[in-house]
Symmetry: none
Subunit: 162 residues, 2 copies
DNA sequence: CATATATATGTCAAAAAGTGCCATTTGGTG
DNA sequence: CACCAAATGGCACTTTTTGACATATATATG
């Protein structure tokens, strides 16, 4: 499937994940999914998410349709090439299906909670076809670092036509 | 059999092994299999696993159906080529059948336990048609090393369209 | 061959983790 | 300010995991 085909899909009026939300996770790992995001999910008529580790210290959440695209990509990766295996172990291996309960919450599995070091306040960031879950302090520190050298970031992005 | 044929099988709603779980192995080598994985096994209507050594310092576990695929592949390997023989000795030769008990536990045979250096906390990683069992410290060290240069990993993966 | 030692298995119970439901709080909107 | 929807907190209940202990089986040793 070409990239442009995917892109078309998003331009045809489909709802996408966007925006920043700060929600709290409790001691047992329950976290409310922002209602706007539940709206987005409802267009796939699904009440579950696939949650997995990002390469960054945060989690990624997908609707199952989009997760399957990831799986398809992963299945074409090598079983011996190092980068490929690392990706499969880390990203594919840690994926878990999470049911959204009647009050719009999920239980974030313990190992994922630990990985992203989710404490209390979580930042939920919509990124078109998926969203990320960060511990808010970690996110703040990360962005502070990322924006420390804004000029070279501008240069890189400008090269991409932005 | 082509890769795409295998892939089709997974898209037809079959449950697959996925997710990271941290369980403890006791002094006698007993280890709980995550209940989600037992669900996956139940679709094959089986209560035993084939466990063997990975090329990495961890174990691999298969449902018997999928193990047979491995055996078929192995039987097509050369009897004289070095890599083939090593693979057969190491992976096929060390395979053991483990019964899941009424509480969902297996006894990990001593030789395999030693190989993977399983101490207390084990990480169990679902990888579609099999799962891996790691000592958690070894896994962390492995991933830390693997992710040490995240930028080049990102670059490599980006080249694959990820 | 009898005995000691280690290894394996079965069962029980405590502890930890996950789930469902209801009540309260929060925050936005008219 | 009153209303509504969204988010959170609390509690009871279920399932899963773990630890402990007793019994059984195997292996080694004198």
């Amino acid at each position: 499937m070409s990239k442009s085909a995917i892109w078309c899909q998003w331009t045809l009026g489909a709802k996408v994940f966007k925006g920043h939300y700060v929600n709290s996770i409790n001691e047992k790992g329950r976290l409310s999914i922002p209602s706007k995001f539940r709206d987005v999910l409802s267009q796939w008529d699904t009440d579950h998410l696939i949650i997995t580790k990002s390469l960054d210290k945060c989690l990624m959440a997908f609707a199952s349709e989009d997760w399957e695209k990831m799986e398809r990509k992963a299945s074409s990766l090598s079983t011996v090439r190092k980068a490929d295996i690392i990706f499969k172990r880390h990203v594919m291996g840690s994926a878990e299906e999470c049911q959204i309960d009647s009050q719009g919450r999920i239980l974030v599995p313990a190992s994922l909670r630990d990985y992203a070091d989710l404490k209390k306040k979580c930042l939920i960031v919509g990124i078109v076809d998926r969203f990320e879950i960060w511990d808010i302090e970690i996110y703040d520190a990360y962005m502070k670092e990322a924006l420390k050298d804004p000029e070279s970031l501008r240069t890189e992005l400008a090269e991409l036509g932005l």
